[in-house]
């Protein structure tokens, strides 16, 4: 994209460097990486414009998400973070009035391409919501609900999957004796971990998190954050958060949305310590928002 076409764009598309060197730059790990043949950017948005009815929510979003990294989406309320996030797994598609221009790709293939199967897309791009949303079925069935729907496993294998995923999120010891119970009696934090286990069970490549800890207490929040960090580099994570400390702690890259625009994006340390735009500076230092 040339400067002529984008005269007011504050920041050109900059690639977010991968996290600690041990993850991305280690040659041994890189050689072992089964994804090495695939594009380095697992998802990409190109000149994306999102509207509800006549109202444009976001315009001209140009962004690449590097495989195996964590990207934080920050910005004041109503700035369109959720709208952007929910576009990535096409949750907005059936919202009345929603329309988009531009494109979003997953592994260089448009997510709106006719031969892109919506169910497969959602298996590959998972989502965790702001508030825990267990299904009205037993704890064990919750974990494998997606696995069953996608026919990934069946019968005895389901129990194995359930145990593995519950161990992965650190919930196994708490629930192993009550797998047949209702999930609604678990604490809010435990319910959110259960939903995380459920999302992980179908083996997504990208995980979208929309303020996943805003309804949780500090200890549960810390647990979820720790898990999120451990999930990379196997997964690419995009997380919306109002908690700037959280964005700083967990993410490799940060995007700042304001007033319908992607004002700036870059590595998290650059965005917080040395932002290019004044608005970003004001926001990350708490003078705005």
């Amino acid at each position: 994209m040339t400067p002529e076409e984008q005269p007011i764009k504050p920041s050109p598309p900059v690639e977010i460097a991968s996290g600690p060197p041990s993850r991305a730059l280690d040659p041994v790990l890189a050689a072992l990486d089964p994804d090495r043949a695939r594009p380095a950017h697992v998802m990409e948005s190109k000149a994306l414009k999102l509207s509800f009815g006549a109202k444009t929510i976001l315009d001209d979003i140009e962004m690449r998400f590097t495989r195996g990294t964590i990207t934080a989406l920050i910005g004041p309320t109503g700035s369109g973070k959720s709208t952007f996030l929910r576009t990535l797994n096409r949750m907005n598609d059936k919202v009345v009035g929603f329309s988009h221009q531009g494109d979003v790709t997953l592994d260089n293939q448009s997510i709106w391409e006719p031969n892109q199967d919506l169910l497969t897309l959602r298996r590959r791009v998972g989502m965790l919501f702001q508030r825990p949303n267990p299904f009205p079925m037993s704890i064990g069935d919750n974990v494998v609900a997606g696995v069953k729907a996608h026919r990934i496993a069946k019968g005895k294998q389901l129990d194995v999957v359930a145990e593995r995923r519950l161990r992965e999120v650190g919930l196994w010891d708490a629930v192993k004796d009550r797998l047949g119970d209702s999930p609604f009696r678990l604490s809010g934090g435990q319910q959110q971990l259960l939903c995380l286990a459920r999302a992980l069970a179908v083996g997504p490549e990208v995980l979208l998190l929309d303020e996943p800890t805003s309804a949780l207490d500090p200890i549960s929040t810390e647990m979820v954050e720790g898990l999120v960090r451990e999930l990379t580099p196997a997964l690419t994570i995009i997380i919306v958060t109002h908690n700037l400390g959280q964005a700083r702690r967990v993410s490799d890259g940060t995007m700042f949305f304001y007033d319908g625009k992607l004002i700036e994006h870059g590595t998290t340390s650059q965005m917080f310590d040395d932002p290019r735009c004044e608005q970003t500076q004001n926001y990350v230092t708490g003078r705005m928002g």
């Binding site: 169910l119 959602r122 989502m127 919501f129 508030r131 609900a145 609604f184 939903c195």
Partner: protein
Amino acid sequence: MKAIGGTAGDLPGAPPAKAMRRAPAARRIVDALRSSEEQLWRWTARVAVVLPLAALVFAITVLAIKAYPAIIVNGWSFLTGSSWTYGSSYGATVHTHGVAHPMGSSFGAWPLILGTIQTSAVAVVIALPISIGAAFALTERLPRWVSQPLGFAVELLAGFPSVIIGLWGILTFGPFLARHVYPHIADHMPDVPVLRYFRNPVGHGEGLLTAGIVLALMIVPIITATTRDLFGQIPPLPKEGGEALGMTDWEVARRISLRWVRSGIIGATVLGLGRALGETIAVVMITGSILHVAPNIYSPMTTIAATILTQLDGALTDGTGFAVATLAELALVLAVISVAVNLVARFIVKRSGRLGGPVGRA
């Protein structure tokens, strides 16, 4: 009381204490009014709780008293026997256990009890899937400008006079079924247990299956209207969770929405079942009113409610009053069946509610 008035003034930012404070007499009147209001409210609530229960107990007690002579004479065979004769009203009156009744009278209600259960069961089996499908379409599938008038029509149908439906059933619908639908089922049924019950002859459209179908039409609106409201109250988040996981709309409906409101649907079904069990006039018109156990599913038969209506006139001519007592006993049996159905439903709700959606939470 005084302390409250005093502290309000001391709160930071509150108006000066003087302005808040009422004259003590006025304050006392206000307080007295509020507490008597509270008393009234509590008593209203108590009465409201007890009233329906009292009405039920009263109705069953009166029935039991009226039926008492019949209960004594007919004994347990009333529930298992199949003969239904009033005896000779001109002949001698005899006494059994001290109760006067016409000579030769003998009552067994088994065909009626079975018929009531059969017609209602057929109705529910047909109505439940249709209602759930319709409710789902109304809430999730159809655009608002279609679903709203359609929903209104459903509500109207829920209160539609059953005599009209019965008349239509016997004049048009029953004969149509007997001519164009039943033969296709009957001709293809193998001669094996259970399915044998669906074999020929199909009759003329008066009978068990027609009654079940017409009853289903009558209870579909009841179950649909309630289920639609239940579906509308499911919070969006669990459904979105299912979609985000890659479930199809059908899977979300079946695995999430339906389970979320399972106990409510059972409740709605019991409401419908209650109507089917007690429906009288339409059943009288469609069943053919034959007092026997239906030999196949198309055969004429009758139910408890229908029999009470059709036999009442004749029963009133029995000078000993025994026939009326027997009809009261029949009514008592129907009341017991209704209560039993509700208790069973309550038990199912309790068991399934364990894993259902939390009520009153998002």
